[in-house]
Symmetry: C2
Subunit: 490 residues, 2 copies
């Protein structure tokens, strides 16, 4: 390796280990893999193709699932008049501090316009015009858009930015039962998306009263665990009850000609999922992308040895590509100004799941060298006969996908602990050791005390098996009413 | 038809003919077909699924074409600091009056933030950081997003709204030739999209100096003709030269280690195309959607006659559906509270290209009745044997697609006229009669005079055969230098 080249490697490589400084590692891996960059506006970010194409795959997967259940995509305006945002008082109180307001040049209208932090109010204003009869129900709309929440907490690429991309589904139903089913169906789909596409396991449950969505009857959530033991709220699905229906007067005529308020739900996942993907799977060499969402699943690196042999190596590489490009997202890195070693480092940094090395010796043996991204041993290389590469690529990529999930599941399981006393609880939390499951009273005040003392909040109350295992609350000694999963969180 | 039902029909049907009042017809057809609705914020609109899914099809088609040419999708922030927007002075002067500015609640930063009216400035600020060497070129990024231009002209659904959806491509190249090729390649793809997907013919050419994009070296455009003889700018592709490269200092190192400015292009199409689709193809009964973009291509309407036969009719309808739903977007309208006649009217209003009627007699004859949306005669019905329906649906839909295009092409051709004197020109323009082709001097001042006198502007200067046919300008008698297509426009 030449001097210039080793400098190049330093420039693109990570200068910090994941285990040493997760936060610095996280930022470096995102910037250096060219997933994203900072915007000149503080707290905003640029989604480069390497992350945006992951978002497109998430969208495609979810759209197909939602469509099958009868949901349709629409687009509602960015601007919400202040009077609409105020209509549901809890909702307004919850969002106001983070709202960015617009003044149009030379505009005479008196009312300020909010840039949507979420679209309940503008959508439900329309729902009250559109919904007349039971025949108009259920109304199942979804939109993919950008929202703005002017965060004053410190921001972090993907995980907390002032503008982010998400989808927000908003449904209206004739009965509470139907709405409740929708809330849980969607949450299940979200968990499936995370698990099957992103190889990210999660825990699902109810939010506590203190943590539920502003204006909701109840909030369900799915939560992930990051390597530093902090939880990440990966997405939420809200039962809105009739709160917004009453504030926006969304009534329908039943078959029996009675007027009733609709039952509503809203739910969303965001580009934050990409942040979780980076944190959970990445390692000291960079990103590790699950094959199901990797923009490039297989990278072919030709090894020329000598200029004389480069033509035949390129031809063989092309043969390999052609055998695989119907089934896989695959590319040849035939840049002539970079050495194979440089390329290995770059594609490892970018997290491509499988590398194929192709040199003159491999042509002679009619084989291809397979190198997996997910194993820690850089030298674990396997020679695969040319006629077997398609089948082997399929099985290796499948194996990477399931091993990434398995590893994350094991971590989640290992880092979920019970605590029977507040002391034990506090010791675990202070070691940044994941979820702590406790028998809890369910009181807002109790949660507030725990939170201000330890930084941990109730992440979820499980849907099933939520009966407390002790009689009294681990913290306040009131009667315990449920199990709760506590953690510090992003 | 019962009284209630005929009232229902009045409610959903159009109350004005397209030829009587195009503007009122246009608004009614969009609102009543449930393509869109007005937002409570003036000049903003809601894209309902019936139009949004057309936008999704446009996106899918264009993304596939752009990807094949090496373009990648990204996402840049909504907010642009005022100092960046000002960097290229012509650009800033062109957009300032329409910019909406943001003030974040409690934010201490002094600089105002613009909501993007277009993203040149924020993107090129980043390009100057990312582009270092010839190896980084060409840089081919595209994004699909929302932009805001605070129009003070009267707005119109899809055609002119304060927020709209579009894609904006932004490329950087090593040479002017390569950039010029990109500009024209994209314009060609846009015309192909309009023609093949939307059945909309267009004319392409250069914009005059007075009409080019603020900050561009030159602008190319494709223009359509609406039924009232007004032109519609359907999309543009700009050669930016090195104007922005110099303002934003985007330089690269050539192979020979020289520093040079890049050559840039930008280009976009918007949801305005959906407005053109409505205007050009619609008729007095409502929308007429080209099969290639229709959300539903075929609607099956079961005709029950009597409750006893409804089961067998539903079964037969399902058999028809199952034979067709692998190849077509198809649906059965089995609502029990609507008559067939009511359903016919509604699906005609919504522009579904092909209706299949299925009744007890058709079961006996093992046939299906085909009714095309694009013919004016409501009674033109064809009986098709069950075993032939797939093949026939294919050919009928293909025929509808090409006939819609043909009709629009004929109109465009018929409404494009030459004029050799200013009097003749003015007479044609005042009759709202489409494009007028004249030998023109090319002077900004001359165009301004014509525009303030007649409301017509230069829509385009053809790429080929653009030599003037007369020696002097039809208006100012200066030397004619080119042919120009004039029209009043949206």
């Amino acid at each position: 390796m030449s001097k210039a080249e080793s400098e190049n490697n330093v420039e693109i490589g990570l200068t910090v280990k994941k285990s040493q400084n997760l936060s610095e590692w996280y930022q470096q891996v995102i910037l250096k893999s060219k997933m994203a960059d900072y915007s000149p506006v503080g707290g905003c970010m640029i989604f480069l193709p390497w992350s945006f194409s992951i978002w497109e795959r998430i969208r495609e997967w979810l759209d197909a699932r939602l469509r099958r259940l009868g949901h349709e995509n629409a687009y509602f305006p960015l601007f919400i008049p202040e009077s609409l945002l105020k209509r549901e008082s809890e909702h307004f109180a919850g969002f106001t501090p983070e709202v960015a307001w617009v003044q149009a040049e030379g505009d005479a209208s008196e009312e300020r316009l909010a840039i949507r932090p979420t679209s309940e109010t503008i959508m439900y204003h329309m729902y009250s015009k559109w919904i007349r009869s039971y025949r108009d129900l259920p109304l199942l709309l979804n939109q993919w858009n950008n929202v703005v929440r002017w965060e004053f907490k410190s921001t972090r690429l993907f995980l907390r930015t002032r503008e982010f991309l998400w989808q927000e589904g908003h449904t209206a139903h004739a009965s509470k039962e139907e709405a409740d089913t929708e809330v849980r169906t969607i949450l299940g789909i979200y968990q499936e998306l995370a698990r099957d596409l992103l190889a990210l396991p999660s825990l699902a449950g109810l939010k506590s009263e203190g943590e539920k969505f502003a204006g909701a009857l109840y909030t369900t959530t799915f939560e992930m665990l990051m390597p530093d033991g902090r939880a990440l709220q990966a997405g939420t699905s809200h039962g809105l009850g009739q709160n917004f229906a009453k504030a926006f007067d969304i009534q329908y005529l039943t078959k029996e000609q009675r007027k009733e308020y609709v039952w509503q739900t809203s739910w969303g996942i965001s580009t934050r999922l990409i942040g979780a993907l980076v944190m959970v799977h990445g390692d000291d060499r960079g990103l590790v992308l699950p094959p199901a969402v990797a923009p490039i699943q297989i990278i072919i690196v030709p090894i020329y040895y000598s200029p004389e042999r480069s033509k035949e190596v390129n031809e063989y590489s092309l043969k390999v590509l052609q055998k695989l490009n119907k089934s896989f997202r695959i590319k040849i890195d035939d840049r002539e100004d970079k050495t194979p070693g440089w390329k290995y480092n770059e594609w490892e940094l970018k997290g491509v799941p499988l590398r194929l090395e192709v040199g003159p010796r491999d042509i002679e043996k009619q084989q291809v060298i397979f190198v997996r991204r997910d194993t820690n041993d850089k030298k674990e290389k396997q020679a695969v006969a040319f006629q077997d590469i398609e089948e082997r690529a399929e099985s290796v990529l499948g194996d990477i996908q399931s091993k990434l999930l398995k590893k994350a599941e094991d971590f989640l399981k290992a880092e979920t602990r019970g605590a029977s006393s507040y002391e034990e609880f506090r010791r675990i939390i202070e070691q940044n050791a994941g979820f702590v499951v406790c028998s809890w009273c369910g009181e807002v005040e109790c949660e507030r005390e725990i939170s201000s003392d330890t930084g941990a909040t109730v992440r979820l109350i499980p849907f099933e098996d939520s009966a407390p295992t002790a009689e009294t609350c681990f913290h306040c000694n009131r009667r315990a009413t449920k199990l709760a999963y506590f953690a510090r969180s992003y």
